[in-house]
Amino acid sequence: MARSFLQAVATEEVAPPLRVVQMEGVAVLKVIKHCKEFSPALVTGQLLGLDVGSVLEVTNCFPFPIREEDDENEADGANYQLEMMRCLREVNVDNNTVGWYQSTLLGSYQTVELIETFMNYQENIRRCVCIIYDPSRSNHGVLALKALKLTDSFMDLYRHNNFTGEKLREKKLSWVDIFEEIPIKVSNSALISAFMTELEPDSPVLQCDLDRLKLTTAPFMERNLEFLIECMDDLSSEQNKFQYYYRNLSRQQSQQQTWLQKRRTENMARKAAGEEPLPEEDPSNSIFKPIPEPSRLDSYLITNQVANYCNQINGAAGQSFCRLYLTKALHEK
């Protein structure tokens, strides 16, 4: 039985989870071009494409101008965006926002701003993704392109702004569960692949090979370590906050205990004297006021960043080992 379109739409209630982001070569190159040209300034842009089942296709994108801290410019930016979308639609580019891209410096993208932007996008489009490109790493012959989304459980917590230890434990959400990396697939039209096959140079050595074989990694490592140390400092100050909180909490609890003890003995005495017992709770007393628990979001984000730096250092060290042993082998010949 053929289903009507309406029925098909109506039954499509449960969306399959997003598994792959499929980027067109043109979108990849545009992102890279924009991010690289403005590096080290951080730039953003919009991704256009289609949402097809568990695959999110990114077929095109356009850059945003560098934003200035101005109210006027905000309206300007919105205008720019509308204009651009209208123009691109006229030449039959997919006119559907699927997320945004941004450049980053050594992968330091795990910020509250990113989460906020994501939540903003998420409100309007059900399925969106953030593509992150790191121009600083591409000088080492690495294509540092990543697609990220926030996990559903995290978004749920974020909406209620609920980052107490108890809630997190209940949801079993640890710091690894904030961001979810989605594998990127690159696709090209047949036309492009024909052109590129034609144009691929015969020379066996390509620029990316030269980049990869560069022996100097010191500046990259140094920056990475610097960032790592900064993050560790931040993390330890966050830890201090928690320790402070727990100390206060336990002090308060012991105060409450002693108060309760006193009240109970007093009540015993009153009972023996045949008087009404006093209530065992006293909201007016300051020691019963709950101490607000600091949000764990920051420490989670910092932990994420630290883990990211560690991964980068590890990766770069691995590459460095390869290069060193290669040099050694060459030298011995």
Binding site: L143, R169, N188, C208, R212, N314, A316, C322
Partner: protein, 285 residues
């Protein structure tokens, strides 16, 4: 030309453009637009953005398609569209200005002259880029032209399109990797170490090739070529001569540095894992 000495056929060579260089994103954009062209359209045309360097090389860095209508003897270009989009591009990157225009197809047609005239009003000496998306000659021909005006006295007579050299070696594409750009579907992006492996393999085959060549020459199977010999000698002499002891020291130092870094990062990760456990334990108060 027998009309008398007064009439001269004038040839206005514009300031010589040396060559043009094209960024891969332009090509990708053109092909994408061509694939998405409207139903009846034969070709797509659009504006090229970029910059002109001091030695006259035109860098074509960006492009956008401009809708147009073409009939037998006239061309209608959506000029408003062109201007709006140009203004938008300027907002993002003011350094990229109009340098010319592109069209798909393999030659310059009559309509092209008209469009070229329009772009000459936008910018002096526009380049015209043709991308043969139809593979008419069985090959991917991408050509760049500049036009010269031929005039008879004051009367413009014709425009002559001269081909200029176009540098197609796309460093940017090489950086990204041709593997990614030429495959119809690439399932996975290569990570750090996989890329390294591929590079090493290529280096290995290169060294093998050189060995084979040298052996062949030594054993008389190949005629020696002095140029290649010099290249090899140059390459070998570019290797710094370090005494084995000094090299060992440098090498070991670097290896140890790397070990220290790898150790540090593992330690940090362990620390994080412990901290997480402790935090969750602390929550069970």
């Amino acid at each position: 030309m027998g009309l008398g000495s007064k009439t001269t056929l004038q040839f206005h060579p514009s300031t010589a453009t040396v060559s043009a260089r094209i960024h891969p994103v332009v090509l990708f954009n053109i092909c994408d637009c061509y694939v998405r062209r409207p139903d009846q359209a034969e070709r797509v045309i659009g504006t090229l953005l970029g910059s002109v360097s001091t030695d006259g090389t035109i860098e074509i860095k960006n492009s956008y398609a401009v809708p147009h209508n073409e009939s037998a003897d006239q061309v209608a270009l959506d000029i408003d569209y062109h201007h709006t989009l140009y203004a938008s591009h300027q907002k993002v990157n003011p350094k990229e200005v109009i340098v010319g225009w592109y069209s798909t197809g393999c030659d310059v047609s009559g309509g092209s002259a008209l469009i070229h005239e329009f772009y000459s009003r936008e910018v002096a000496n526009p380049v015209h880029l043709t991308v043969d998306t139809g593979f008419t000659n069985g090959e991917a021909s991408i050509k760049a032209y500049v036009s010269f005006n031929l005039s008879l006295g004051d009367r413009p007579l014709a425009a002559q399109f001269n081909e200029i050299p176009l540098d197609l070696r796309m460093i940017e594409a090489e950086r990204v990797g041709f593997d990614i750009l030429k495959m119809a579907v690439m399932d996975k992006l290569p990570n750090d170490l996989e890329g390294m492996e591929a590079t090493m393999e290529r280096l290995y085959t290169l060294i093998d090739d050189v060995y084979k060549y040298v052996d062949d020459v030594v054993e008389g199977r190949l005629a020696p070529d002095n140029n290649i010999g010099r290249f090899i000698a140059d390459t070998l002499s570019s290797f710094p001569k370090i005494s084995p002891a000094a090299f060992d020291k440098v090498f070991n130092d670097r290896v140890q540095d790397n070990y220290a870094l790898a150790y540090l990062s593992s330690l940090t990760r362990t620390q994080l894992a412990i901290a997480e456990k402790l935090n969750t334990a602390a929550q069970v108060l």
